[in-house]
C-alpha cells in the first residue's frame, strides 16, 4: 500500500475512534444551518437555506481543515515524527498523508452537513451538481489543509496554533460570500469578499446549481491549491528534528 495511504488511514482510524473530534467540527455548521439558514429574516430570497448551504459547506471544510492542521505538530511533540522520518518511504509522504486525511475528514463532515441541509428543506442537487460540488470541496479542502498545516509548522506549537486558529476562522468566514450575495454587501466588504478563497468555493457551488460549469472558480482554487501545497512541502522540509 502506498505510504501516503498508510499514514492517512492511521489518522482516519484515530479520528473515528476519538469520537469527539469527529463531532466537534460539525456542531457549529449544523447550528448555523438551523439558526441562520432557517431562522434569519432575509429579504433577497425566499429560499435562504438553498443560498446559504454552499457557504455552510465551505465553513465545514474550513473548520475541519483548521482542526486538522495541528496533527503534524502533535506527531512531532509526541515523538511519532522521528520514528516516521527514520522509515524508508519518501518523507513528504508524511505531509501528504496529513493533507489527504484532513481533506477526507472535511469531505465526510461536509457530506453529513449536506444531508442535514437536504433534510431541512434545501433543494436536492442533481448527480452532476453533486459531483461538481464534491470536486470543488476536494480541491478546496486540499488547499485549506495544506495552508493550515503550513501555518502549524511555522508556529511549531500546539497552543499557538489553536490561538491563531480561533483568530482567523471567523473573519475568514464573514468576509466571504457565504452569508449574502455580492450585490447585497456593503461597499467596503464586496472587494474583500472577491479576494477571499472561501468565496471561490462557495460561488463555484452556487454557479453549479444554475447549470453552468464554474471554470474561473475551479481554476483559481486549483492554482492556489498547487501553490500552497508547494509552500507546505517547503515548510515541511525545514521542520526541526
Amino acid at each position: 500500500m502506498n505510504p501516503i495511504l498508510v499514514y492517512c488511514r492511521r489518522d482516519l482510524i484515530r479520528w473515528f475512534r476519538g469520537k469527539w473530534g469527529f463531532l466537534s467540527s460539525m456542531v457549529m455548521p449544523a447550528a448555523w444551518l438551523v439558526f441562520v439558514g432557517l431562522a434569519l429574516p432575509i429579504r433577497f430570497t425566499d429560499d435562504y437555506i438553498d443560498f446559504v448551504t454552499p457557504g455552510i459547506l465551505a465553513m465545514t471544510t474550513l473548520s475541519a481543515s483548521l482542526a486538522g492542521g495541528g496533527l503534524l505538530i502533535m506527531d512531532r511533540m509526541l515523538g511519532f515524527f522521528n520514528k516516521f522520518l527514520a522509515l524508508p518511504p519518501p518523507r513528504e509522504s508524511i505531509l501528504f498523508g496529513k493533507i489527504l486525511v484532513i481533506t477526507i475528514r472535511g469531505i465526510i463532515q461536509s457530506t453529513v452537513i449536506l444531508i442535514f441541509a437536504f433534510l431541512l428543506g434545501a433543494r436536492l442537487y442533481s448527480p452532476t451538481q453533486l459531483l461538481g460540488t464534491y470536486f470543488i470541496l476536494f480541491v478546496f479542502g486540499a488547499l485549506l489543509s495544506a495552508a493550515a498545516t503550513t501555518v502549524a509548522i511555522y508556529l511549531d506549537d500546539h497552543d499557538q496554533y489553536a490561538a491563531v486558529n480561533a483568530m482567523i476562522s471567523m473573519p475568514l468566514f464573514f468576509t466571504s460570500s457565504a452569508m449574502m450575495p455580492y450585490d447585497q454587501m456593503p461597499d467596503w466588504l464586496s472587494p474583500i469578499a472577491h479576494l477571499n478563497p472561501l468565496s471561490y468555493a462557495i460561488d463555484g457551488i452556487r454557479i453549479l446549481q444554475t447549470g453552468v460549469f464554474p471554470l474561473t472558480q475551479i481554476a483559481l482554487l486549483s492554482v492556489l491549491c498547487v501553490a500552497v501545497n508547494g509552500l507546505a512541502v517547503y515548510a515541511f522540509r525545514k521542520v526541526k528534528i
Binding site: 505510504p3 492511521r10 484515530r14 515523538g79 520514528k83 527514520a86 522509515l87 524508508p88
Partner: protein
Amino acid sequence: MAMKVDNDNKIDLKPRIVTHNLTKNYGKLCAVNQINLTVGNEIFGLVGPNGSGKTTTVKMLTTLLDPSSGTAEICGFDIKKNSRKVRESISYVPQDLAVDVRLTGRENVMMFAELYGVSTPAEKTDEALKVLDLFDRADEFTKVYSGGMRRRLELAQALVHNPDVLFLDEPTVGLDVAARKKIWEHIKVLRKKGMAVFVTTHYMDEADRYCDRVAIIDRGVIKAIDTPDNLKSAISQDIISVSITGLFNGIDVPGVRFAFHEDDDLIFYAEHGDSALPLVKDALTDAGIHVDAMSVRKPSLDDVFLHLVGNVEDSSPFNLSTFRNVTGRRG
C-alpha cells in the same frame, strides 16, 4: 580490537556501522566531536550522561540529522549519499515512547510493516508480536498497555522488517526493574539472531551487564571504547574507598594509587584490594589520619566513567526533551 566471543554466538566482525570523524555542531556548541566507531554484529552501548551527544549521534546515524562534517556508513551505505538505503537497513526506536493508543497492538505493528514495505505484512506482524511476547494481547488497544509493554511494542515495530542494524535510544528509561530486564533479554535474543544493536543509555550498570562493547562519551567526545571488562580492569583490579577524619596529604603504598575524593571519602585503585587494605589503614594512621570505615569492591563502569571524565556535575543547559519520559510531560 578485543571482543567477547562465545562459542554459540560468534560475533561477526564485518562492520555494520563505521563512522568517519562524525561531527555535529549547533552554532558554537559542538554536540558530537569527530567520532570514529566501528560496530559489528554485537550489542554496542554508547554510554554517557544526559546531554553528552548520544542522541545526536543516533540521529545522525539514522539519517534524521545531517552531520556538520564527517560521515558514516551503515551496512556499507553512506548516511548522506544513500540515506534511503540506510533507512531500509535499519530500525530506530527513539527515546520517547510513541505508540498510537487508539490503535491495537497489532495495528500499530502492521502499520510499520506496511511502511517498511515488507511483502507479507500480516505474517511478519504476528511473528514480531510473538517474539516480543505480545501476541496474546495484540488485539487490545495500546491504551491499556504498561510502559514496558509499549516499549516492547515499539521493538516489535522495529523488528517487523528484519533490520540489519537496530538503533535504540535509551530503551529502558522510565521503566521498572523487571521491565528493564525483560527489554535487555529481548535485545540479547536479537543479537543472537544476527542483528547489530546500537544502544544508548546513561545506566552504566545496564551497559556493563548487557553490552558486548561500550563507548564512553562525554561532551561529544569518545573517551574510551572496549568491552566492559577490559575498561574496568584498565583502571584497576580493585577499588578501595576509605572514609576518614583528618587532612589527607597522600600516602605511599606499593600497588595502590590514590584516585580522587568522593565527598568525604578517599578512593584508591589497588592491584590486590584485600591485602592492600591493612597497608592503607596503617599508612593513613601513620600520617595521623583517623580511619572511620573502609571497603573494597570491584570497579564498575561508573568508576571507569568517573576516572575518564572526572567527577563533574552536569552543567549543560537543561534539555526538556531529555526529561520528558521521566516527568511524563510532553512538549
